[in-house]
């Protein structure tokens, strides 16, 4: 009989690789290898508008990407950051109440948080377009209250885009925070209170620090897809709210300018990675995985 380690794993040489081979081969062929073809494409040039791109160390694609679409880059990351903060503010109390006050209803409440996301992403965003529409009750109420000018609107504003991003990626914030809060031993809070800490202080000094891994994971899971999204800007925004996703999508599928589109994608990936690493340093949680 083979020896097992404390986690019950066997020492083996061949068996794990046989099991890994098909799945990992698929990932190599259709995840890692495409990144290489994307990189090659980003350094290619097009002899003419309808000719196939040729690899030629065309670094100017990158400078073009930056100089032409700097505004879209900064807008994407600003919107994504705002959506992340908004999602955190909405998700935290919800996760907290479910984890600490849910009782027997915990699983049902958690299920309720996920149910809305069984409808398609586009349909949800279209529903927000209806809710925020110019003739919708929300806008009319805000106008009559004087919050919005008589001709003011919500749709086609940055606010609508950020709101859509917040909504669409909210479960990715709720679930990790819930998991982190759920793990906290309630006796720790009791201990803090026995030492004459009030509820708020106990939260600030005990609960919140212990939930940080969840906050960290949730923030990344919201920030990354939000920064690369183009659907919310397309449905809820205007020409003034285009994000980098809209540009990449347009260059790749409408303009068919593959080299510039590929360069844009690479720059985008580089910035996302830089943000992730800085964020990991700031929060001191480097064991991400």
């Amino acid at each position: 009989m083979l020896e097992r380690d404390p986690e019950g794993r066997k020492q083996a040489r061949v068996a794990p690789w046989l099991l890994l081979a098909p799945g990992m081969l698929w990932l190599f062929l259709f995840y890692f290898f495409p990144l290489w073809t994307l990189l090659r494409m980003s350094l290619s040039s097009r002899p003419s508008r309808f000719a196939d791109p040729v690899f030629s160390w065309e670094w100017s694609n990158y400078s073009d990407a930056f100089s032409r679409y700097g505004a879209q880059f900064s807008r994407s990351f600003l919107y994504a950051a705002l959506a992340t903060v908004a999602a955190l503010l909405i998700a935290y109390p919800l996760a907290y109440v479910i984890a600490f006050r849910g009782g027997a209803w915990k699983n049902v409440l958690l299920g309720l948080c996920v149910v809305p996301f069984f409808t398609n992403y586009l349909i949800r965003t279209l529903a927000w377009r209806t809710i925020l529409g110019d003739q919708a009750p929300v806008v009319e109420t805000l106008r009559s209250l004087g919050v919005l000018a008589p001709d003011g609107r919500l749709l086609r504003t940055p606010l609508a885009v950020v709101g859509g991003l917040t909504y669409n990626f909210l479960p990715f914030m709720i679930l990790p925070i819930y998991v982190a809060l759920e793990k906290i031993d309630p006796r720790l809070v009791d201990a803090a209170r026995d030492l004459y800490s009030n509820t708020w202080r106990a939260f600030r000094k005990v609960v919140f620090p212990l939930s940080l891994p969840g906050v960290f994971a949730g923030s990344l899971l919201v920030f990354i897809p939000a920064a690369g999204d183009f659907v919310n800007s397309y449905y809820l925004g205007s020409a003034k709210t285009t994000m980098i996703g809209n540009v990449v999508q347009d260059q790749f599928l409408v303009q068919l300018d593959y080299p510039v589109a590929a360069a844009l994608s690479f720059v985008f990936m580089a910035i996302v990675m830089a943000v992730v690493i800085t964020y990991a340093r700031l929060l001191g949680t480097e064991d991400l995985v």
Partner: protein, 288 residues
């Protein structure tokens, strides 16, 4: 244990504490309302009789849309394509992902750590990057295809969906298998079962709920995906989300809402049935 203190909530003595408690509860309730607002609108507007082509402003109540939910042929055809894509990707991704997860939790081997990392990377990549990179791959001529390009369409969509589902399946299953008692396998082998018999009769039945959960997740991800699919679909094949996106420029028929409501109710039913089945099974096996 002082039960009276509830779950880490502390006894609320001061009026300020009581107000704080109510405020947090209100914030949570507000969060739930926010989550369900669009869903309410989607269901409500499936009963709307829109003027013109866009179902965006409330006009009047009607049951017409529900009387003929499959009226919009392109939408129904697209839904059928989506179901086929999701089913094929689910089966392939679940098999591949289960193998990967088993390798990682059952064996200790060199390269296990790096495999874990490689597995997470696709999950952290922005979808637009996955779509864009796959498109460049499909545009290049390939040796294996006798130097021809891939034809963008059903096959390329399935390839892409399997790619992002494998990681999800493997990660979900890995989490579920943590703490699994592998010595049960030793017991079976001690009793004279061969490795294959042990796997089929002991291991597989025990990990089946985890595999089913991972498969369902993969199905849901595949059927919902828009961004990656949009890049690799080509001009001719339309999945459900692609069809909605294409149509939404010129029309949003109320049948979209009807189908969406049906899908929502269907998935909630599957989820509830799955939970019920899981609990009953756990009780029968005396696991909990």
């Amino acid at each position: 244990m002082r039960r009276g203190r509830g779950h880490g909530d502390g006894t609320v003595t001061s009026p300020a504490g009581r107000v704080g408690r109510v405020l947090v509860n209100l914030a949570a309730a507000g969060g739930l309302v926010y989550l369900f607002l669009p869903i309410f609108v989607i269901v409500l507007f499936s009963f709307n009789k829109p003027k013109g082509k866009f179902n965006a402003v409330w006009q009047e109540f009607t049951l017409e849309n529900w009387a003929d939910p499959f009226k919009n042929r392109p939408l129904v055809d697209a839904l059928y394509v989506s179901l086929r894509v999701a089913l094929i990707s689910m089966v392939v991704a679940t098999v591949l992902g289960t193998f990967v997860a088993l390798a990682l939790v059952r064996y200790r081997f060199r390269g296990g750590q790096i495999t874990n990392l490689l597995l997470v990377l696709p999950l952290t990549a922005p979808e637009i990057l996955l779509g864009a990179s796959l498109l460049t791959l499909f545009l290049e001529p390939h040796l294996v295809l006798a130097n021809r390009q891939f034809t963008l369409g059903f096959t390329t969509i399935v390839i892409a969906h399997i790619m992002f589902c494998v990681s999800y399946v493997a990660m979900t299953l890995k989490a579920r298998l943590r703490g699994f008692d592998w010595t049960l396998e030793d017991a079976a082998m001690d009793l004279g079962a061969g490795p294959i018999r042990t796997f089929l009769r002991v291991t597989l039945p025990l990990i089946t709920p985890g595999i089913l959960a991972a498969a369902l997740l993969s199905f849901a991800l595949s059927i919902d995906d828009f961004i990656i699919t949009y890049f690799v679909a080509g001009p001719d094949v339309k999945t459900f989300p692609l069809q909605i996106f294409g149509q939404s420029r010129t029309a949003t028929p109320p049948q979209i809402n009807v189908l969406a409501t049906m899908i929502l109710v269907g998935s909630v039913a599957v989820l509830a049935a799955g939970t019920w089945w899981g609990r009953r099974r756990a009780r029968r096996l005396g696991l909990r």
